[in-house]
């Protein structure tokens, strides 16, 4: 009796689990249909799909890491500059050996993740502040190494820039993270931490260790995203990965993810979100909006969605 009472009271349409689960898919279809008509079908022309895909890999991979951080109630604003720094390492090392380059990129990402984790977990500073600090710090580092000239990767790195490699690389990462998230209990643990840290601790979860691990993992994943980016671009300038963090966050929220993380998070939020974001932004480009106008529109959409999807019960506490 009482359970019903609290459940139905104050539960708006958007808060119902089924609505939350279906809404992103509905939105995906809507966005597709909308831009199909607005662009006269050009958006789904074969070569545009190809172009869309080629722009999607990096965002998709990087979003996966941030997804983990956000599930446990954290935020990561350092992704963009992190990607820049990792790319520098990768491009530099690719001149020696391509495998070494990948390892170097992943290690760099992991190390940055460790720093994020250290300040968040051990020094108990909110992830929001820590990662914003690192966003500036790493962007500075990026600029320092690329002032004189961009860092160039080995010239034949572009041989990896083909559909088969990119697609396989991305899918392998997505599937791996999905399997770990879903079938090792990590997902359940992360969601629990996002929903309530104290109670998770009392349920026997090693909260600090888990958080640390997730920050490092997210960094490593960004290292992989940096590799895909380097393959595509072939060099790094000081603006590499600029605003990636916002793109990731908009994509995840578009995919129906609650900005507070917690138990209502689903892995498909990443896939749906990234595709919606890409179609949306590419559609806006094709319709001839200026980049300023695009930013404005994306900002409005983001704000509206956060308003709809935020989980007010968990409270807007960013950890």
């Amino acid at each position: 009796m009482e359970e019903k009472k609290i459940k139905l009271q104050g539960m708006s349409f958007m808060d119902q689990p089924r609505v939350r689960a279906v809404a992103p898919l509905v939105m995906f279809v809507l966005v597709c249909v909308l831009f199909y008509f607005l662009t006269g079908g050009k958006i789904f022309a074969a070569n545009n799909i190809k172009l869309l895909l080629s722009q999607t890999y990096m965002l998709m991979i990087a979003s996966t890491g941030v997804f983990l951080v956000m599930t446990m109630g954290g935020l990561d604003f350092s992704q963009g500059s992190m990607l820049g720094v990792c790319s520098i390492v990768i491009c530099y090392l690719s001149n020696i050996n391509i495998v070494l380059a990948v390892i170097g990129g992943v290690a760099t990402g992991g190390l940055i993740g460790l720093v994020n984790g250290f300040f968040n977990v051990k020094r108990k500073i909110t992830s929001f502040i820590v990662t914003i600090c690192n966003m500036y710090l790493l962007r500075g580092l990026c600029a320092y190494f690329t002032t004189k000239s961009p860092v160039y990767a080995v010239s034949d790195i572009s041989k990896y820039n083909n559909l088969a490699f990119n697609l396989t690389f991305t899918i392998v990462i997505l599937v791996s993270v999905y399997l770990v998230f879903q079938y090792t209990g990590l997902g359940a643990r992360l969601k629990a931490i996002g929903a309530g840290e104290t109670a998770s601790r009392y349920a026997g979860i090693r909260v600090e260790k888990t958080k640390m691990l997730v920050y490092i993992a997210a960094g490593c994943i960004t290292g992989l995203a940096a590799f895909i980016n380097s393959v595509k671009v072939g060099s790094v300038t000081s603006t590499a990965g600029n605003q990636l963090e916002t793109q990731i966050m908009i994509a995840l929220v578009l995919g129906g993810m609650s900005v507070n993380g917690g138990s209502k998070v689903h892995f498909y939020n990443i896939l749906v979100g990234v595709f919606i974001y890409k179609i949306l932004s590419s559609g806006l480009v094709m319709m001839g909006f200026t980049s300023q106008m695009q930013q404005l529109l994306l900002g409005i959409i983001f704000l509206l969605l956060v308003g709809v999807f935020a989980d007010r019960k968990t409270g807007m506490i960013v950890k």
Partner: protein
């Protein structure tokens, strides 16, 4: 007959398909303490929430001294002469005591657009003193006071303007003996001034002792209003449940010997500000009760044994020599803990029943190192059902459950893990008698199957009724020990507590 003060006419409220309050009409008189009782979910709180403007009513009217009132919120209700003291924390942290007392009424201290903080503090201190709470400083930030003292401050907040109707909603479950005495004193005073107190409590003895008349609700329907005089606890139980309940739902056995085998040994536990020096031995198959006043440190004992205390000194050792120093080690070695703070520590409140039950068992649920959703669902389903949890499904969020059902989920979690040492802190706090009886029966079963239970409780009757041994604590240390016996009375225990 006394003069009519508040008349509720055909009050009705539905939440979806649930008829929470079903056309209830009730009269409250001047100078009476009128108790509202019923099981969890019987509509007591919903009824008073409508009266105090927390919920809006669907149908019906309230008349206060003949005039219809429909408060929009709590402050509005206060202005109309209706106040409420709630079960959980009703004060805001970060504000001073004075700011809390006058929350929503700051305008009274504003002249020409300037708030006179000094005047407000002075007035608050005067009020505190008039209640005899001189030890509380009106200018201090409320966080410097503990739960119990904050409750006293809340009493001042809700009664200082002399409301005509005061609702006391299950406040006593949160209070120790001292706090209850203060609350009852205030209730008496309200009554003597010709006001009416609506008193909601699960403690039927307390209800009979304090109130003049008692109204019983069941499934949102008003069953009966009876005078307290000449009514017994059993009469009330019958009215509440609608069927005969045996007078005693505690264990009935006496004189069973306690096993010699020690399963857990704690030595010289010290936690700054909580425990001075505390040691205990837990035997196999016993229920060890720990009692005392709420600030005696007993709640910290549970945390310390579970490895959850910060800055703990001393050792906790199992029979096989394993040392417990953190929560994961405790859980791995078959120790379970259900905290008094159900919503923050026992349960991940914004997570599903399934996840809450499965969390400590995730590793055991894996087949070939792989965790399947299907297995988690089945596991949660099995143990939630075993505890007869009232739910829509294991996907339901625990935040939507009533207190009793939340506790069932907590127990289901540890029963699912088959823990051998179970530490229960205030296991029946704020829980109705039907679920209480379930929990006691379950504890007795566990004891018989050789599991050892530590029950930390502020309820003396529960300690006497369920424990094989009782430790009484005072000021962070052991004060006395009692063995289970029919001759043991509540006075014996209280004597050691104070």
């Amino acid at each position: 007959m006394a003069e009519l003060l508040l008349h509720a006419e055909d009050i009705d409220k539905k939440f979806g398909i649930t008829h929470a309050v079903n056309h209830v009409s009730l009269d409250f008189y001047k100078g009476e303490i009128h108790a509202l009782i019923g099981e969890n979910g019987s509509g007591k709180s919903t009824f008073t929430s409508m009266l105090t403007g927390i919920y809006t009513k669907e149908h019906g009217r309230f008349f206060l001294e003949g005039e219809e009132i429909h408060p929009q919120n709590q402050v509005d209700a206060n202005r109309k002469g209706v106040a409420i003291i709630v079960q959980e924390v009703g004060t805001l942290s970060g504000l001073t005591v004075a700011e809390n007392i006058f929350l929503g009424k700051e305008d009274d201290f504003i002249s020409h657009g300037i708030k006179h903080t000094n005047a407000m503090n002075r007035k608050a201190q005067e009020l505190l003193n008039s209640y005899g709470f001189n030890h509380i400083d009106a200018t201090a930030v409320i966080d410097t006071y503990n739960f119990e003292e904050r409750k006293l401050i809340e009493i001042v907040k809700s009664t200082h303007f002399n409301p005509k109707v005061l609702v006391v909603d299950e406040t006593t479950t949160a209070l120790g003996h001292e706090g209850r005495r203060e609350l009852f004193k205030v209730m008496k005073k309200m009554k003597e001034l010709g006001n009416c107190v609506i008193f909601i409590s699960h403690d039927l003895e307390e209800v009979l002792e304090q109130s003049d008349s008692i109204s019983v609700l069941r499934d949102g329907v008003l069953i009966d209003t009876v005078p307290s005089e000449g009514t017994t606890v059993d009469d009330l139980r019958k009215l509440m449940v609608g069927r005969e309940m045996s007078g005693n739902f505690y264990r009935t056995d006496y004189g069973e010997p306690i096993s010699e085998e020690v399963v857990l040994r704690a030595e010289h536990l010290k936690v700054p500000g909580e425990l001075r020096d505390f040691s205990l031995e837990l035997h196999k198959g016993e229920i060890l009760g720990i009692g005392g006043l709420s600030e005696c440190g007993m709640h910290e004992v549970g945390k310390a044994l579970f490895g959850a205390s910060y800055d703990r000194e001393g050792s906790v050792t199992l029979a096989n020599g394993t040392i417990i120093k953190d929560i994961p080690t405790a859980i791995k070695n078959s120790i379970a803990y259900a905290s008094k703070d159900r919503d923050n520590e026992s349960l991940v409140i914004n997570d599903t029943i399934r996840d809450n039950i499965c969390l400590p068992s995730l590793e055991n649920l894996k087949r070939n190192r792989i965790l399947h959703n299907r297995d988690m669902n089945a596991f949660a389903e099995k143990f939630a059902k075993e505890m007869s949890t009232k739910m829509e499904g294991v996907d339901q969020f625990t935040s939507a459950l009533s207190g009793g059902n939340k506790q069932k989920v907590v127990l289901a979690r540890w029963i699912g893990l088959d823990s051998d040492i179970i530490i229960l802190d205030s296991p029946t706090r704020g829980i109705d008698i039907k679920v209480k009886a379930d929990i006691y029966a379950r504890m007795d079963e566990m004891r018989k199957s050789g599991k050892s239970i530590i029950m930390i409780s502020e309820e003396i009757m529960e300690l006497l009724g369920m424990s094989d041994r009782i430790l009484i604590m005072k000021d962070g240390a052991l004060q006395g020990e009692f063995l289970r016996s029919e001759e043991l009375t509540d006075e014996d225990l209280i004597e050691q507590m104070v």
